[in-house]
């Protein structure tokens, strides 16, 4: 039987090329969130991260991966596709933020109006959204989460290990600080790549 005291680890390494990342590659701590845009707890976590990340400065970076629970959140997958379509125009985080700030309005027409609001080429956005251009990437995120032990939304991985505690500001700060302090102990994490 698996060791119960150890939380699962991230199975798909963080990739500068593929992932949505805020913060420098040199950061001591990498916080990976698997989230769903329609999940109210991810909405809470969004507020927590908005407070937490600036405090950590260059010592931490945030990675967001999609984990839409489509059976209970009918708009989550389309919202994730909207964020990816915004990413194609270099504005992932702008769309990501607006989706969490207006979680209760995620109908397709809302998504299109947000695209206009953040200055996207709306025609391109709409075309890519409706041809479902980014669905494979979202499913890849989802599968990587399932394989890593994502067990609900949001699920966080701190330096590659699943964070099993609550995700209020204090708990999450403490968990990040702990990872930062233990960083010197050279426990190699799967997603830590040597810097070129």
């Amino acid at each position: 039987m698996p060791n119960e005291s150890e939380s699962p680890t991230l199975s798909m390494p963080v990739s500068d090329r593929r992932d949505h990342i805020q913060g420098p590659a040199t950061a001591a701590v990498t916080l990976v969130e698997y989230g769903d845009y329609q999940c109210p707890y991810c909405g809470e976590a969004y507020g927590v991260l908005k407070k937490l990340m600036p405090k950590l400065g260059d010592s931490a970076r945030l990675v967001f991966r999609n984990f839409p629970l489509t059976q209970i959140h009918p708009h989550a997958e389309h919202a994730a596709e909207a964020a990816e379509a915004a990413n194609a125009q270099g504005k992932f985080w702008k769309m990501h933020d607006i989706l969490y700030e207006r979680q209760t309005a995620l109908e397709d027409e809302d998504l299109v109006s947000y695209a206009g609001e953040i200055g996207l080429d709306v025609a391109r956005f709409q075309a890519e959204l409706f041809e479902r251009k980014f669905i494979d990437r979202i499913r890849e995120d989802f599968q990587s989460g399932v394989r890593s032990g994502v067990n609900g939304t949001p699920t966080f991985f701190i330096n590659g290990r699943r964070h099993d505690g609550p995700f209020d500001l204090q708990t999450l700060s403490e968990a990040v600080m702990m990872a930062m302090n233990s960083g010197q102990e050279a426990r190699p994490h799967k997603h830590h790549r040597p810097q070129a």
Binding site: M1, P2, E4, P8, S11, D36, Q38, C39, P40, Y41, C42, L69, T70, Q71, I72, H73, V146, R147, S148, G149, V150, N151, G152, T153, D164, G165, P166
Partner: protein, 218 residues
């Protein structure tokens, strides 16, 4: 009087958007009344385990054991017999209770990845000590597409057979078993209370069943 202000009260506890620990227990003057739970610390105090991870001495049935057969109700008038699934893998997910937030996450996740289980032709079965009416309401509310069995009378009898009944709280532990097509347990796992085990362990177990099958055919 405050009570007079109650316009509507939903007896049906509705799980608020279902992805974390919050129950809408009613509506007062149009404002939802929510009961918050801490998904991680839920009942952690009552979960002291011995080294084997069980609370009643025997521990969960181990890989290599023949899965004890059972017949339980999935709805008030339908029974499910484990032996009927012989010939395909079965995932037994014992969980403490319907409606409890962590379970909600766990079953919602499994519901979402049923297509992955289907790739292995595996049948997922949820089991708790809740009664069939409770299961029916819960499954409808969460749109679950797999059976929930009622280990209701005698209470917890099947969970006891599998070594995953928690006497101290009168509920099943959060335990997973992967049973192969011949009815042999190939993987078992008991999660710490309050921690949702996810699905990675199940998928790895199903994969290794597949590999064994390939080897057998080689």
């Amino acid at each position: 009087m405050w009570v007079k202000n109650i316009v509507r009260f939903n007896v049906n506890a509705r799980y608020y958007a279902n992805c974390r620990a919050e129950l809408v227990v009613g509506t007062i003057r149009g404002i939802e009344v929510r009961m918050k739970n801490n998904p991680t610390h839920n009942r952690i105090k009552s979960s002291a385990k011995n080294a084997n991870g069980d609370k009643n001495g025997s521990g969960p049935l181990q890989p290599g054991t023949v899965a004890p057969n059972f017949e339980l109700n999935s709805t008030p008038d339908q029974k499910v017999d484990l032996i009927h699934f012989r010939g395909r893998p079965v995932i037994l997910a014992f969980y403490p209770a319907d409606w409890s937030p962590v379970c909600g996450d766990q079953l919602a996740l499994y519901n979402e990845i049923l297509p992955d289980f289907n790739k292995y032709a595996a049948q997922l079965i949820g089991i708790s000590v809740d009664g069939t009416w409770c299961h029916t309401a819960y499954a409808q509310n969460r749109q679950l597409h797999f059976p929930l069995l009622a280990d209701f009378e005698p209470k917890g009898a099947v969970a006891r057979m599998y070594g995953v009944y928690d006497d101290s709280v009168g509920e099943c532990e959060r335990a997973l078993f992967v049973i192969d097509k011949d009815g042999i347990i190939r993987w078992s796992y008991v999660s710490p209370a309050g921690v949702n085990p996810g699905a990675d362990g199940i998928l790895r177990a199903l994969e290794s069943l597949d590999k064994k099958k390939e080897l057998a055919h080689a």
